[in-house]
């Protein structure tokens, strides 16, 4: 692979604008993708894929800020709209037309909720983006796939699935990697939440008999999968914690779909 020798480029919008260039797509990294140690690896995997395929992209860098989704779900509409309005000013300032993001919560907010505040963009989740790169032949599943025949189960993110009806793109990617995709009983529109949404990630759970991620991880482990595929930074944390709770870190891995693609490409 030549990628080892070519350094990865992560241009910022400010740099491109200074050169008078515009990218084809803005990669919206999101807070988890920027700060969460585990999810930073997903951000890097995705950037490597963008570099390898030759996509002309850019990030906002330090000019990016939270979409405001957790504040809105928790009931703090003021804070959400402050964040959203400031973000829209930045995005419109750069004339952004198309955005790709790995976070379903950012995706949902940017796509469905910013228009009411005057921010109109074509917003794509990275699962859809990667699927179209595969369909266009720009990512070619190679011989000797590392995931060929591996049992993998996909955990639907609520904000990708029910919220936006994206069920097939992440599955199509895993199938393109020749993985042996096994479904949990509660999947697609019946998928069970990981327990992080609606602001739950940022507080202690209410009193109950069980944590939601434990309920979900039991179902995932019940499929006998060797790897759990996710497409959301919060699902990633919840599922990883679940695997640790069940002391199965040694034999069950949790990866984002971008990481599967990057690994399969030897990136």
């Amino acid at each position: 692979m030549t990628t080892e020798t070519t350094p990865c480029q992560v241009p910022t919008m400010a740099e491109l604008a200074a050169r008078g260039e515009t990218p084809d797509v803005l990669f919206w990294v999101g807070c988890a993708g920027s700060f969460d140690d585990r999810y930073k690896r997903v951000t890097i995997a995705f950037v490597k894929i963008l570099n390898a395929v030759g996509i002309k992209f850019a990030v906002l860098g330090t000019e990016e800020s939270c979409t405001g989704d957790p504040a809105r779900r928790a009931g703090n509409e003021f804070l959400f709209q402050m964040q959203a309005t400031m973000n829209i000013q930045v995005l419109d300032g750069y004339g952004i037309k198309k955005i790709v993001t790995a976070c379903p919560h950012c995706f949902n907010t940017l796509k469905n909720e910013y228009p009411a505040l005057g921010g109109n963009y074509e917003v794509v989740h990275h699962s859809t983006f990667l699927q179209s790169l595969i369909n266009e032949g720009r990512i070619k599943p190679q011989d000797g796939q590392p995931f060929k025949g591996r049992r993998i189960t996909f955990h639907d993110s609520c904000y990708l699935g029910r919220a936006n009806k994206i069920y097939e793109a992440p599955r199509a990617i895993l199938e393109a990697l020749d993985a042996d995709l096994v479904e949990m009983k509660r999947s697609r529109s019946q998928g069970l939440c990981c327990g992080a949404g609606g602001g739950q990630y940022f507080k202690e759970p209410e009193p109950g008999k069980k944590d939601i991620n434990i309920e979900r991880i039991e179902e995932a482990l019940g499929t006998g999968a060797q790897a759990i595929a996710v497409a959301c930074p919060f699902c990633m944390t919840m599922m990883t914690d679940g695997v640790k709770n069940k002391e199965r870190e040694a034999d069950v891995k949790v990866y984002d779909i971008a990481e599967f693609v990057a690994q399969a490409q030897g990136l």
């Binding site: 990294v29 890097i44 804070l79 029910r162 507080k203 209410e206």
Partner: protein, 454 residues
């Protein structure tokens, strides 16, 4: 003479039932109108399509095929047997007997046979539904597991099923006794060429030993029981979870058409935010004073504390709920033993509306403040705080009810009006305000992830 007396009594019964139904209908409509305005009349073609699929076609019921089939039998029975009710009502008013038979010749027995098969189907399915509740003890209906399934909701369900069984038995035994009378040659019961009907013939041996006057008495009792039962059922509907048989249709028509993930914007906040960020000027004396601000109808409150703060659609949702509990069975918070049950959110909202309706009626059409509110007296903070906003409840509801929309509005009230949020949420809010991220990281470090790459 007895004939005329029956006609008079029949008209009086219809008048009484109509009066009671109209009075309840107006009360329900007036409590729905307590809600905030919201336009749900856009894209009528799309709405008609959803109504055809989800309400008429019962598309979402078929997630559970066996129960969907059982439900379909009752649904078809309800709609199709009502054709017969038209004849029964006209017979009642005019004092005739099987008014339509001479005009419809061969079609008549064909239709009655269809009604009878459906009636038998409804009867069997109702027995099946009772068995699901009381013998199989389907988890969704058990009070030990779900505290909203208290005495009244369970009694309500049993009453409906028993009434339906009684109605169907009355219809079938009425046909049976009527046929026996006809075969004996009683003058009033003659209809040329009419054979015994397909199901009720099996009930005929029950009546064959009776003398004619006893038979006529039973025929009248069954006829009256059937039609009065239907009228009583129509009145009872309005007090019951069974109201869904009417409201399912408008409720599905006015469904949310936006993606499930989209949360409703609050334009009144947008104005303030724009002023705070210096993007627009506060409206002072720039407009002529006689033109009211466009949002002057919006109550001066953020979020919802009581039903009046919710939208009319939220309130119609509450009246449309059949308490089937598919929402709660799919809710991750409920599955893991938290207090939240989306079904309870809907039932509490309806209970609050019913309480306000009764209060208003008792006080001559004026609601007298009872010191209660939906949030606090019916729905607890612990419930709305347990929601993950996963939309499983919205996905599951066979009549497109949206409990999540109510939960969001209650949260907005607690957080924006009362600044009451869990401590960790307040921490997340201040991180967002200060660092533009929900965690305590410096915004200057946001791009550090790329360091290893360049």
């Amino acid at each position: 003479m007895i004939g005329y007396l029956q006609q008079v009594l029949f008209l009086a019964a219809i008048a009484l039932a109509s009066y009671l139904i109209l009075r309840r209908g107006r009360l329900i409509a007036s409590t729905i109108r307590l809600g905030r305005d919201e336009d749900r009349t856009d894209r009528p073609q799309e709405r008609l399509k959803i109504m055809a699929l989800v309400a008429f076609g019962q598309k979402k019921m078929f997630a559970k095929p066996l129960v969907a089939f059982m439900h379909l039998v009752i649904y078809l029975g309800f709609i199709i047997i009502n054709i017969e009710v038209l004849e029964i009502i006209l017979d009642g008013i005019l004092g005739t007997h099987r008014l339509f038979a001479p005009y419809t010749s061969a079609l008549y027995p064909f239709l009655i046979n269809i009604f009878e098969v459906l009636a038998l189907g409804v009867l069997l399915v109702c027995v099946g539904f009772l068995a699901r509740r009381y013998l199989l003890k389907v988890a969704r209906f058990q009070p030990e597991r779900y505290r909203e399934m208290g005495r009244w909701p369970r009694t309500d369900a049993a009453i409906i099923l028993v009434i339906e069984i009684v109605l169907m038995l009355a219809f079938l035994t009425w046909n049976a006794s009527d046929t026996v009378l006809r075969l004996r040659g009683d003058e009033h019961y003659q209809v040329a060429g009419l054979q015994p009907f397909i199901v009720s013939q099996w009930f005929m041996p029950l009546f064959e030993g009776w003398n004619t006057s006893a038979l006529i008495a039973y025929e009248r009792v069954a006829w009256w029981a059937h039609i009065l039962g239907i009228m009583a059922f129509a009145v009872y509907l309005s007090y019951s979870k069974h109201l869904h048989i009417l409201l399912a249709f408008p409720n599905v028509y006015f469904s949310k058409l936006a993606p499930k993930g989209e949360m409703q914007n609050m334009p009144e906040v947008t104005n303030e935010v724009k002023i705070m960020l210096g993007l627009s000027q506060p409206e002072v004396a720039t407009d002529a004073p006689e033109t009211p601000a466009p949002d002057s109808g919006v109550p001066g409150k953020f979020g919802a504390k009581d039903v009046m703060d919710l939208t009319w659609k939220n309130l119609m949702d509450a009246y449309s709920c059949t308490e089937c509990g598919r929402c709660t069975a799919a809710c991750p918070a409920s599955i893991t033993g938290k207090k939240l049950s989306p079904r309870k959110i809907m039932m509490d909202t309806r209970d609050r509306l019913e309480d306000i309706g009764r209060n208003t009626q008792a006080n001559g059409g004026e609601f007298k403040d009872d010191g209660k509110t939906l949030l606090g007296d019916y729905i607890l903070d612990e419930e709305i705080l347990a929601c993950t906003s996963c939309q499983a409840c919205v996905q599951e509801c066979p009549v497109n009810i949206n409990p999540l929309d109510i939960i969001y509005q209650l949260r907005r009230y607690r957080v924006m009006e009362e600044s009451k949020a869990p401590g960790l949420w307040n921490g997340m809010f201040s991180n967002l305000e200060n660092n533009q991220a929900p965690w305590k990281f410096s915004p200057a470090d946001r791009f550090n992830w790329a360091e290893g790459l360049k």
